[in-house]
C-alpha cells in the first residue's frame, strides 16, 4: 500500500474533476517564493510528510508575502518527520473557509467492496466525530459494476445533518471522489477537511491517499518509483533490490534493511549479533524470524524470495544481502516444507557464495520438494570455501537451525578462501553467447574441444542445449532462450565447473550493485599498518 503525499492525492482528485486549491509542489525555498508570488495573496506552505495533525506540529505555515513563503519553505524543507526528511512543500492559496466536512473512499476487505464515507462535520479526526456526532456520518458500500450513482450519493448525504441546500453539490463531489478512487485504483482516499469556501466552492483542502501496490504498473501517471511502504527513506541497496524484482516477474523478491549501521564487530547496541536474513514465503519467513530471535541474533535485513523464483533471483538476493557490511552470519529459512524444487535456490546460493567469497558462516534451511538434492548441492559445492555452510531440510525446525548458526558464529573465526567463482574466469577465446531473460550465457567453445562427456547438455533440464559439430549450442532460437526458455537454473554452469572445464559464464548483472560495493569499500576505515 504505497502512501501518497498530499499533493499527489490532490492530483488524483483533480484528474477526476474534483476541485483542489490553486498551488504547486516545490522543492526549494526559491521555488516556493516564486509560486507564492504567482498565486498572489495569502498562501499556505505545507510540509509533505506522512503524519497527521500537521498544523499543531508546525508543519503548515500561513504566509502573507512571497518572502515569508520562502522563509517558511526553508524552515520546513529538511526537517525530519517520522524518519523521513521533508523534501517537498506544497504552496497553495489560502482558502476562505465557510465550513468543513469529510469524505472518503476506502476498501472494505471483509465485504470485498469499496465503501464511501461522508460526514457533514470535518476538520478533526473522523473517529472522534463518529463518537460525538454519529448522526453526522453516513456510509455505503458501492456496487463495483455500476459505481456510485448520483441518486445514491444524494441519499447518502440526506441522512446526515448536512443542510438541504448543499445536497446536490455534495452528491456531485462524492461521485467525483469515487471516480478518482476508481481511476487510480486507490486503496483509500480521504479528504479531510473537504471545504465549502465562502464563495460556495467545494474544495479538497487536504488529502490522504494510498494506492494498490499491485496495480501501480498500470498507473505511470502516479509517478510511484517504489510501490512499497517502508518506515524509513529508501536506501540505495533497497532500490537496487527493487529494480531486480521489477525486471523479473518470476517469483517474488522483497528486501528491506532493518539495520543500516552495523558496527564493525557485527554486534548492535543490544549486544546481539547482526546477521543477513533470507526467508522464503511470508508465513515461513516470519516463523523463521521468530526462531532467529530466540538465539540472540538481530537482523540486518528482511528478505523474501518465494513463489518459485528461479536460481538467478535467489543468486541476486544473496548477493544483495551479502553487500551489507559487517554481518556475522547468513540465515536462510522458509516454511520448512516448500512446494518448490529446492535445488534452484541451492544453486543460486552456490554461485553467489563462491563469487562473493563468503566470509561468515551460513545456515540454509531448504526444506521441501527435492530437498535432499538441494542439501547435497550445498554440501558438495561449498565444502572448500573456508567457512561452514550447513544445509537442512524439513525435519529440522527453524529454531534448531538458528541454534546451529549460533554455534557456528561462536566457533569462529574462520579462514575464508575469498572469491572463487564457478563461472569461466578467463576471457573466452571462442565465445558462443546467447541472452537469457535477465542476463546472458557465454560458452567458450575453445575450452570444449577436449570435453568428451559434455555434462552441460545433460544437466539442462529444459533441454535446450545440444552438440552440433562438436560444440554445445542452443537447440532453440536465441529469441526463445531470451524469452525465458533458458530458466537461468545455473545447472549447466555448475556441471561444467565441476565435471568439465569451467567454460561457461552466466552473467546476471545487478544494476547499481558494483557501484554500491565500491562506495562502501571507499568509505570503510582504512587499515593503518
Amino acid at each position: 500500500m504505497a502512501r501518497l503525499f498530499e499533493y499527489q492525492g490532490k492530483e488524483i482528485l483533480s484528474r477526476a474533476g474534483f476541485a483542489i486549491p490553486e498551488g504547486k509542489a516545490c522543492t526549494t525555498p526559491e521555488e516556493a517564493e516564486s509560486v507564492a508570488s504567482e498565486l498572489g495573496g495569502e498562501v499556505v506552505v505545507k510540509a509533505q510528510a506522512w503524519t497527521t495533525g500537521r498544523k499543531a506540529k508546525g508543519l503548515l505555515k500561513f504566509c502573507k508575502t512571497p518572502e515569508a513563503a520562502k522563509e517558511a519553505a526553508s524552515e520546513l524543507l529538511g526537517q525530519v518527520v517520522t524518519n523521513f526528511p521533508v523534501e517537498i512543500v506544497l504552496v497553495e492559496s489560502k482558502l476562505e473557509i465557510d465550513r468543513e466536512l469529510f469524505a472518503a473512499v476506502i476498501i472494505d476487505a471483509t465485504a470485498q467492496q469499496p465503501m464511501i464515507v461522508f460526514s457533514s462535520l470535518g476538520g478533526t479526526g473522523v473517529e472522534d466525530i463518529a463518537k460525538s456526532h454519529p448522526e453526522a456520518i453516513s456510509r455505503k458500500h458501492i456496487d463495483i459494476k455500476v459505481g456510485l450513482r448520483d441518486f445514491e450519493a444524494r441519499e447518502l448525504v440526506r441522512v446526515t445533518t448536512l443542510d438541504r441546500k448543499f445536497y446536490n453539490k455534495a452528491a456531485a463531489a462524492l461521485v467525483k471522489l469515487y471516480k478518482a478512487a476508481r481511476l487510480s485504483e486507490a486503496r483509500s482516499i480521504e479528504i479531510n477537511p473537504l471545504v465549502i469556501t465562502k464563495d460556495g466552492k467545494w474544495v479538497a483542502a487536504d488529502c490522504h491517499a494510498t494506492v494498490d501496490d499491485y496495480s501501480v504498473f498500470r498507473h505511470p501517471e502516479l509517478g510511484i518509483e517504489i510501490a512499497r511502504e517502508l518506515d524509513h527513506p529508501i536506501t540505495m541497496l533497497e532500490r537496487i533490490a527493487y529494480n531486480v524484482e521489477k525486471s523479473d516477474y518470476r517469483g517474488t523478491f522483497y528486501f528491506f534493511q532493518m539495520d543500516q549501521d552495523i558496527p564493525e564487530n557485527g554486534k548492535n547496541t543490544n549486544g546481539e549479533d547482526v546477521i543477513g536474513f533470507h526467508g522464503a514465503g511470508g508465513g515461513g519467513s516470519m516463523m523463521s524470524m521468530d526462531g532467529v530471535g530466540k538465539h540472540n541474533f538481530a537482523l540486518a535485513n528482511f528478505c523474501d524470495t518465494s513463489g518459485n523464483p528461479p536460481a538467478s533471483k535467489v543468486y541476486r538476493a544473496a548477493k544483495i544481502i551479502l553487500a551489507q557490511p559487517n554481518i556475522r552470519g547468513y540465515f536462510a529459512s522458509g516454511s520448512g516444507v516448500a512446494s518448490q524444487e529446492q535445488f534452484h535456490s541451492a544453486r543460486g546460493f552456490v554461485k553467489a557464495f563462491r563469487e562473493v567469497g563468503l566470509q561468515v558462516p551460513a545456515v540454509i534451511r531448504l526444506g521441501g520438494n527435492r530437498e535432499e538434492i538441494a542439501i547435497e548441492i550445498l554440501r558438495t559445492y561449498l565444502a572448500d570455501i573456508g567457512v561452514p555452510v550447513e544445509g537442512y531440510g524439513k525435519d529440522d525446525s527453524a529454531v534448531f537451525c538458528a541454534d546451529r548458526l549460533r554455534k557456528l558464529v561462536e566457533e569462529g573465526p574462520y579462514n575464508p578462501k575469498g572469491p572463487d567463482p564457478i563461472s569461466n574466469p578467463d576471457e573466452p577465446e571462442d565465445p558462443y553467447t546467447f541472452k537469457t531473460l535477465t542476463g546472458s550465457l557465454t560458452i567458450d567453445h575453445a575450452k570444449c574441444s577436449d570435453c568428451e562427456s559434455k555434462p552441460c547438455v545433460d544437466s539442462c533440464h529444459p533441454n535446450i542445449l545440444e552438440v552440433k559439430d562438436g560444440n554445445v549450442v542452443l537447440n532453440i532460437s536465441d529469441e526463445e532462450a531470451a524469452k525465458g526458455r533458458c530458466t537461468e537454473c545455473l545447472a549447466c554452469e555448475i556441471a561444467c565447473w565441476t565435471a568439465a572445464n569451467q567454460a561457461i559464464k552466466i552473467d546476471l548483472p545487478i544494476d547499481g550493485l558494483p557501484e554500491y560495493l565500491k562506495e562502501i569499500k571507499d568509505s570503510a576505515p582504512q587499515e593503518v599498518s
Partner: protein, 305 residues
C-alpha cells in the same frame, strides 16, 4: 468426504500451456486429480499431458458437458490477466476457482468477487498454493510434485486452513509425520481480499463429516481469525479448533510480503486475534513446533468422550 475437491471433481486448468501451468498440471494429474480440460487462448486444439486444450472457457464447458462439465478451474495466469480469465470461468458456469497468482490488483479482485457472488461461485485465493484433499486430488501447486505430495501428506481426520502457503504444507507434513492424518489442507491465500477466507473454510470443515478437528494458521492483519471466533461463539462452528497465530517478531506497521499482513489500528493484531479465539474456546498453540502435540491431545480427548 472432504471439502472443496475430491477424486470425482472435474478440473480445468486455465493457462495450462505456460511454465507453471504445465508443471502443476503434471502434479495434479499424477496425484489423481481429474483434469478434464485446459484453456489457453490461441493454443486450442492441442493436447497437453493428455489433457485437451481449448481456446475459451465456454468451448471447454461445451466440449465436456456430456461427461459432467467442469466443477473447478485452476488459474495459472499472469496477474494482470487474471481478472479476465476469472470472469470468463465464472460466466461459463464454473462454481469454484482457484486463483494461484499473486499481485492481482485489488480492484480486479473486487470485480471477481462481485461476479462470483452474482453467479453463486466461490474462489480460493488469489495468491494461494491451493488445496489438497489427501490421497484424492490436488488443486494448484501444493506439494510441488505428486511424489512429494503423496510422501508429505497422510489421510485422516484433521482439516488444515492457513494464511501462508508454505506453512500449510509444513503443518500438514508435521502432523502427518506425527501420525495425525488429514482430510483437506487449504491455503486461503495471502492477500487482503480473498474469496474464501478462514471463516468460509472453517464452515465447510464443520459440514464435512470426516473432519473432526480443524488446525488454523493465522497471521496479523485482516479480521479472518476474529470472524472464526465469532462463528464459534454463535455455535455455527462446534468442532475443536487448534490455532497458531504467527507474527510475533513483526514490528507494527512493517509489511512482510503478504499484503494482508498489516496491522491497521487496533484491529488485526496478534493479541486481539488470540484473545478472540481463546475466548471462543479455541486451543491456542504458542510454539509452532507444538501443533502436532496439541492436535493429538485434542483428538484423544474426542475419542475418550
Amino acid at each position: 468426504m472432504s471439502i472443496l475437491v475430491n477424486e470425482n471433481s472435474r478440473v480445468c486448468v486455465q493457462g495450462i500451456t505456460g511454465r507453471e501451468g504445465l508443471t502443476r498440471t503434471r502434479l495434479m494429474t499424477e496425484y489423481g486429480t481429474s483434469v478434464v480440460a485446459g484453456v489457453t487462448p490461441g493454443k486450442g486444439g492441442q493436447e497437453v499431458l493428455d489433457v485437451p486444450v481449448y481456446d475459451t472457457m465456454f468451448e471447454a464447458m461445451d466440449a465436456t458437458k456430456n461427461d459432467g462439465g467442469i466443477d473447478i478451474s485452476v488459474l495459472f495466469i499472469p496477474a494482470p490477466l487474471v481478472k479476465s480469465a476469472a470472469l470468463e470461468a465464472i460466466e461459463a458456469g464454473v462454481k469454484l476457482l482457484v486463483i494461484v497468482p499473486d499481485r492481482v490488483p485489488i480492484w480486479d479482485v473486487m470485480e471477481i468477487a462481485d461476479a462470483a457472488k452474482s453467479h453463486e461461485a466461490a474462489f480460493l485465493g488469489p495468491n494461494t498454493l491451493g488445496a489438497v484433499t489427501v490421497d484424492q486430488a490436488v488443486l494448484g501447486m501444493m506439494g510441488g510434485t505428486a511424489a512429494s505430495a503423496k510422501d508429505f501428506f497422510k489421510p485422516g481426520k484433521v482439516g488444515v486452513t492457513s494464511r501462508s502457503g508454505g506453512i500449510t504444507s509444513s503443518i500438514a507434513y508435521y502432523l502427518s509425520r506425527a501420525g495425525i492424518g488429514l482430510t483437506t489442507i487449504c491455503h486461503v491465500g495471502g492477500d487482503s481480499i480473498i474469496g474464501l477466507p478462514h471463516p468460509e473454510i472453517v464452515k465447510r470443515f464443520e459440514d464435512d463429516p470426516e473432519t473432526e478437528v480443524i488446525v488454523l494458521f493465522g497471521e496479523i492483519g485482516t479480521s479472518q481469525e476474529e470472524g472464526v471466533a465469532e462463528l464459534m461463539v454463535k455455535k455455527e462452528v462446534t468442532k475443536p479448533i487448534v490455532a497458531y497465530i504467527g507474527g510475533k517478531g513483526a514490528k507494527e506497521g512493517t509489511r512482510f510480503s503478504h499484503a494482508g499482513t498489516i496491522i491497521e489500528g487496533g484491529k488485526g493484531t496478534r493479541d486481539g486475534k488470540i484473545r478472540a479465539l481463546k475466548g471462543a474456546g479455541a486451543y491456542i498453540v504458542e510454539d509452532f513446533d507444538d501443533i502436532p502435540k496439541v492436535t493429538s491431545e485434542v483428538l484423544a480427548s474426542l475419542e475418550s468422550n
